[in-house]
Symmetry: C2
Subunit: 112 residues, 2 copies
DNA sequence: CATTCATATGAACGTCTACTCATATATTAT
DNA sequence: ATAATATATGAGTAGACGTTCATATGAATG
């Protein structure tokens, strides 16, 4: 194996600590599922209650609730209760920004 | 179950087609792994060969190669061969932007 | 051509994950 | 209190995923 010490030293300096990189990966993992992505996108315009989301995505209430919990634990969404109904909404504008960047990437060089 | 037809109609209009949302999730999935995140970050400054990356991350060459393939299939990185050595580099500036947005999110409200 | 070095790849294996199903909790209405 | 509605949650399961191990490919060197 040839030598890389010089390059690696430089690269290491520019990198955040391991822990931070893993947290970063954990964050992106939240966006890395079709169901969660749809949920997040559905909250772009307005808050929605659980059963509205499950109706929109045509999935069971249970499946949606499980994913909502994951998103809430990740601080991407928050909720408020109004009687029996619980409304979920985006917790942070970063969510929109991050998804927007990804969207730009995949739609780049497309027309249809 | 109460009625959501009015709200859902609005929300549906604002949402991209299902296929696109899944592709978006697939994109973010690429960032959603510690090893891949480290690889991408290590390529922020300069291109690197496989064994440099595996030395940097202290992981086997095989593990790194597998992940490089995933990133390459996802068009986040590209490579060039120079003799026996293969150098990998970021394929797109979007990668930096997207990761940057995520980084901002997780470092928000931190000092240490 | 055989060897060595750098990288790629297929199979196997253990772990993680997203869903389902059953059930629990919480709130309102009767 | 009982029933009904909306949501949450634990256990179980099938499939996806990341690593390892063994091996293959590809290029330079003797």
């Amino acid at each position: 194996m040839h030598d890389h010490s010089k390059v690696l030293e430089e690269v290491k300096k520019g990198m955040p600590e391991e822990k931070k990189l893993c947290r970063l990966a954990e964050l992106f993992k939240l966006f890395g599922d079709g169901t969660r992505m749809k949920i997040l996108y559905s909250l772009f315009e307005s808050e929605l209650c659980v059963c509205a989301i499950s109706e929109l995505l045509q999935m069971t209430q249970s499946a949606i609730s499980h994913q909502l919990k994951i998103l809430r634990d990740g601080n991407l969404i928050a909720n408020r209760r109004e009687g029996k109904t619980v409304y979920y909404f985006l917790a942070d504008d970063h969510v929109r920004t991050i998804i927007g960047q990804g969207y730009e990437h995949i739609t780049e060089g497309e027309e249809k």
